[in-house]
């Protein structure tokens, strides 16, 4: 039983990270049909900027704020200079653009920061809490709580504000949204801003647990993408659940089956789910109109 709880805690912590990346994927996808493979770089930037700002003597909360703002600016620039000019290009073309952006951002980070790993001090100390024989880091709980808060805020933004509704409308039908006077280009830009901010917050919160470096983005993008697809592309709830499930599969796979094949287990399950549910757990199946 303590093992089970320990695996659960591990899975939820890692899963929350994937969930935040998946959420970023989903938001941008909803607004623009773009799969943004530079999403992992947002997480990297959040962590790295905070690390280097604190190293320069900036207090942690301010450093975190700087990191979020910097990442949002990068997200905006990505949209303004790479995505918007290619409006109307095919989905694969846009994917290659985001891959190019990811290479570019990684290269910039290697030059501006460095190529070493870095950590941040945990917010609530390093002393693990003992729950039913399992040792859980306070930071893990903070990450999970933050994920929950972000999901709730996003939900409130989407359903309670005009901007959120415009964003939803853009996601549902871009042409119709434009016809009712929504500036869909701005909405896509907004989705980059929100995704970048979520990525940066994720990066800041998980760095004390997972460490960070200039090239952590690639793997996060890969896992986050898989999680988003498992959950069903376009569904924020699906993205979060997808992330948590992938994290849990890895943890239980490593704990109960084989640590060498834990990633394989996660992907086998994803494949099986997609074979049964070709649009993921919460994806819109939709009848094809002809």
């Amino acid at each position: 039983m303590p093992e089970f709880l320990q695996f659960l805690a591990s899975g939820l912590t890692v899963g929350a990270i994937y969930a935040l990346v998946a959420l970023g994927f989903t938001l941008i996808y909803n607004a623009s049909d773009v799969i943004n493979f530079a999403q992992g770089e947002f997480v990297m930037l959040g962590g790295m900027v905070t690390v280097f700002a604190t190293a320069a003597g900036v207090p942690l909360p301010l450093a975190a704020l700087i990191a979020i703002v910097a990442t949002v600016l990068v997200g905006l620039a990505l949209h303004r200079f790479a995505i918007a000019p290619a409006r109307g290009a095919s989905a694969v073309t846009l994917i290659i653009i985001t891959i190019g952006a990811s290479i570019l951002l990684r290269g910039l980070a290697a030059v501006i920061f460095d190529k070493r790993f870095h950590s941040l001090p945990p917010i609530a100390g390093n002393k693990p809490l003992l729950v039913g024989g399992a040792a859980i880091l306070p930071q893990s709980i903070i990450v999970l709580a933050a994920t929950a808060v972000i999901v709730v805020l996003l939900w409130a933004l989407m359903t309670r504000t005009l901007i959120g509704k415009a964003l939803l409308a853009t996601a549902a039908n871009r042409l119709a949204a434009r016809l009712v006077g929504i500036d869909t280009g701005r909405m896509v830009g907004l989705s980059f801003v929100v995704s970048a901010a979520i990525g940066a917050i994720g990066g800041i919160l998980v760095t004390p647990i997972t460490l960070t470096s200039y090239d952590v983005g690639t793997l996060l993008a890969l896992k986050g993408f898989a999680a988003a697809m498992l959950g069903g592309m376009g569904s924020p709830l699906g993205a979060v659940l997808g992330g948590l499930i992938v994290g849990l599969l890895e943890a239980f796979g490593a704990g109960y089956v084989s640590s060498a094949y834990k990633d394989a287990i996660a992907f086998l399950v994803i494949l099986d789910v997609l074979f049964v549910m070709p649009h993921g757990l919460f994806g819109r199946a939709g009848v094809e109109r002809v």
């Binding site: 303590p2 093992e3 320990q6 695996f7 805690a9 591990s10 912590t13 890692v14 990270i17 290697a110 460095d114 190529k115 070493r116 790993f117 870095h118 950590s119 390093n126 693990p128 040792a135 880091l137 998980v206 647990i209 997972t210 460490l211 470096s213 090239d215 952590v216 793997l219 943890a251 239980f252 490593a254 704990g255 640590s259 060498a260 834990k262 990633d263």
Partner: protein, 382 residues
């Protein structure tokens, strides 16, 4: 207008001047293929920094045999195919006199055949045994082998009477190779491996694996072959779970950065490492003290980053090569190769190097020191 002309004239003069110097004074060409980016940048980055730093230094002091060194450095990103392409380029296009190449075992194995075929001396920086055994005429290596690291750990375990261990290894090339090497000498040291776990090179949480190790009865110590950030996370998770038996890291940790990342969790961890990590703590009569203190000071002053044994391996390689070229009195490939092979009593950051026709590594177990982390710093285990 005027400034443009002046600039053009200046550029032309520089070109002519540069051409004149090269014509009058042939250069020594040294080529490097390193994994400065990618998953092994942990190794390649300090290697590249060290190389560029010291070549500039040597050139400032007049070069080798009165010739300046012209350095070619390429980044293979950890991809053996790229390493081979750049190796070919160095040999065919840049026509280098010697190679300092191969940050990882895989990239090194891609370059060795090129050096052999072109009869160009190569000093590599791979960890695994196969990067230097069986001996090939033109291939040399400076880092200790992972087998040596294992033996050093097992020696220490035996001394402490801890014979039942668990292993948690990275699935990257470094961790896998060291794990396999360790398994070849368990019987020699009477070590029982009760349980084995692995983790991916980029995993961010190893508590599931460590929970299984914790649950295994009779484990007296845990050994973690791995490099990069993995060992730091293993160490943190180890303390998080409250595992109390001794933890051994490998020489893949190799830098103060590990202590920074693992924090208080690193307390009490032991590992085999080169003297470089404890440079200032060496007794004054230690013959290695001067070279390691000098390198450490230079590196840390120039880069602002903590010194690592990986950069040290590059220092050793470069110096062995430079010494050999000086002894050969030229950059002639065959002569330089012979002189490298004759290296005796070279005092490097990795230990004393004594090469021979049957040993192109030249280090013995004494090159490794057993360290323990106390109060956030390395200490020598006596």
């Amino acid at each position: 207008m005027g400034t443009l002309h002046v600039a053009a004239a200046a550029a032309l003069t520089t070109l002519v001047f540069a051409g004149a110097t090269t014509a009058a004074n042939a250069e020594v060409k040294i080529g490097a293929v390193l994994s400065a980016t990618g998953p092994a940048s942990f190794l390649g980055d300090p290697e590249k920094k060290t190389l560029e730093m010291y070549v500039a230094d040597i050139n400032a002091k007049g070069g080798i045999n009165g010739q300046q060194i012209k350095l070619f450095v390429y980044d293979d990103g950890g991809d053996p195919n790229q390493a081979r392409t750049f190796g070919t380029r160095l040999i065919e296009e840049d026509k280098v006199d010697a190679l300092l190449a191969g940050s990882t075992t895989a990239t090194t194995m891609a370059i060795i055949p090129l050096a052999e075929e072109a009869k160009t001396p190569l000093i590599n920086f791979a960890g695994a045994v196969q990067a230097v055994y069986p001996v090939k005429p033109w291939n040399f290596k400076t880092p200790h082998t992972d087998l040596m690291a294992c033996e050093k750990i097992f020696e220490d375990l035996k001394k402490r009477n801890l014979t039942k261990i668990a292993m948690i290894s990275g699935t990257d090339a470094f961790g896998k190779s060291m794990h396999d090497q360790c398994k070849t000498v368990t019987t020699k040291y009477g070590i029982d491996v009760l349980h084995e776990e692995t983790y991916g090179p980029r995993d961010s949480d190893m508590t599931p694996q460590l929970t299984n190790i914790k649950g295994k009865a009779g484990v007296q110590a845990v050994v973690n072959p791995g490099f990069g950030q993995g060992p730091a996370i293993v160490t943190r998770n180890y303390r998080q779970l409250g595992i109390t038996v001794p933890l051994y890291e490998s020489h893949g940790v190799g830098s103060k950065q590990y202590i920074d990342l693992a924090g208080a969790a690193a307390e009490g961890v032991r590992l085999p490492a080169a003297a470089l990590l404890v440079a200032e703590k060496l007794p004054d009569n230690d013959p290695q003290k001067k070279v390691v203190v000098d390198y450490k000071k230079t590196y840390e002053a120039k880069t602002g980053q903590p010194v690592s044994t990986f950069g040290g391996h590059m220092y050793d390689g470069l110096m062995i090569l430079v010494d050999a070229m000086k002894r050969a009195g030229s950059a002639d490939k065959a002569k330089v190769r012979n002189e490298i092979e004759k290296t005796r009593g070279f005092m490097g950051t990795g230990g004393v190097v004594n090469m021979s026709p049957t040993d192109h590594l030249g280090l013995d177990l004494s090159a490794f020191r057993m360290l323990e982390i106390k109060n956030g710093d390395w200490t020598l285990v006596q």
